[in-house]
Symmetry: C2
Subunit: 290 residues, 2 copies
């Protein structure tokens, strides 16, 4: 199925497209936003790289589109930004809307194996086998062979997980306040047990702290920002970026986790937008744009 | 009454303060956000200029704080940004929450003369006689004698109105998609008749198209951006910036309304954030910062 453009909004010289499509993978209508910088409209022949941004728990594609402030840097460097949704919506599964940290808005970017979630909650395959190919076929001048990935919180985990599993697909990875060890935190345990069951070997296929040890890609830094006033970091221990640093010491990425603990920053979009410039600059380098 | 700091949020190297205070003018608790750039914390002696941003219908101080992206430019030039609320809230007046374009979230920055609104809906006096003096007395290093004003939609009208009435208080004025002639549009007629009654001479004291003819300040440009895809402009004729340009020809500001019609932009924060950089640059000039 191709995308329907529900809305096209002028923004910073480019356009934000709000798209929807019927996904054969999730069996639901999916929404996704794509920001096209001015270069897309100025030059119809040059292919533009893509930065994928994965959002955190509860978010739709709109939150980051409105509040993360990628647009000026997408225009500065010349890349598109893709904002996928965080889960299927309206799958009509009992309990899907009961929690803010599980079900709707909390798909954890994995392919569920457990009933009743395994019919629709297949965000890993949705991103890799539906969304990315759809973008490639629908937008001739977006180059999905030059693609990087970043994300926030659950989406930071998603970015790390997709990158560590698919170094041939993504040129670089960064994260804002990522969940780095979902197998060992409350959010991750709740979702992994419900979506994946009890088999910890399956959990390991999605856990960045396991995946980093098996990484086969180029030795490139992974940029992470974490605010010290983020209660999910400092109090609830949901995020634990130090665990990824420690795990990486037994991996080809030893010394490559570029963790910045930033004093006084919280978990909100005020934090994300404050460091988006650095993340865009980082990805632009690996996308060959600066 | 002094401000209570309800929240302090790190953002772009500075801090966004969410403040509240009991206002003797409105008789209610009022909320206001203030963004303090990094210069405020780096140097405790140099006084910083202030840019006041007035929001549009329905907004709280949070909308623009999250979505307008003044922060990077406030840091670049070194000024604070004040985001007042758009009305008293919780005044317990019958009907105050019935409309999105009147009552709560729609105070129109005027002093109501008509019952039951005249007890609390006094946003003109609140801004001029309560908020600005409070800021001056609470923040030693904010210089309210170097202050400029801007706003969006109803807040664009507010910015024009405050500036044209108080050229001794505000150094410069700009607006995003302002209501320029409230006496002659649906939004303005509804609010002016309910808040001010039938006396059109009183309406004229708040209408930029009337006020511009009596302007006594320095001959400085007023910067206005208006999106051509804004339905409130193109379809509903609520905004009518051309009327201000026309009215200004009979005024000391003839030729000084610097109206930019920007192709394809709507009425949203995607539009505002796209041109905030230009507006900050404009005000920085008149605040002596570039």
């Amino acid at each position: 199925m191709t995308f329907t453009t529900d809305t096209s909004i002028s923004s910073f010289g480019g356009k934000l497209l709000k798209l929807s499509h019927d996904s054969p993978v999730t069996g639901t209508k999916m929404v996704v936003n794509i920001y096209l910088p001015h270069q897309y409209f100025d030059d119809e022949t040059t292919k533009l790289p893509v930065l994928m941004y994965l959002s955190g728990l509860t978010c739709t594609p709109d939150n980051a589109s409105e509040k993360a402030f990628f647009q000026p840097y997408a225009n500065q460097y010349g890349f598109a930004v893709v904002f996928p949704d965080t889960s299927p919506r309206g799958a009509n599964i009992e309990g899907e809307d009961d929690s803010w940290d599980f079900g709707t808005g909390a798909g954890f970017y994995l392919d569920a194996t457990q009933k009743p979630w395994n019919k629709n909650y297949k965000m890993y395959s949705y991103i890799m086998k539906d969304l990315i190919p759809q973008i490639a076929s629908s937008y001739d001048t977006l180059d999905t062979h030059k693609m990087s990935i970043c994300g926030h919180s659950m989406g930071g985990y998603g970015a790390l997980m997709f990158y560590l599993r698919n170094p041939d697909v993504f040129q670089s990875c960064s994260a804002f306040a990522p969940i780095t060890n979902p197998s060992e935190c409350q959010w991750g345990k709740k979702s992994f047990s419900n979506y994946l069951g009890d088999d910890k070997t399956l959990w390991a296929e999605y856990d960045p702290c396991d995946l980093v040890k098996k990484f086969t890609g180029d030795k490139r830094p992974i940029l992470i920002h974490q605010g010290t006033a983020d209660a999910f970091y400092a109090k609830d221990h949901q995020l634990q970026p130090e665990k990824l640093v420690n795990a990486s010491t037994q991996s080809p990425l030893n010394g490559m986790i570029d963790l910045h603990l930033v004093d006084g920053y919280d978990h909100s979009y005020y934090f994300i937008s404050s460091f988006v410039k650095e993340h865009c600059q980082f990805h632009a380098k690996y996308l060959g744009l600066n």
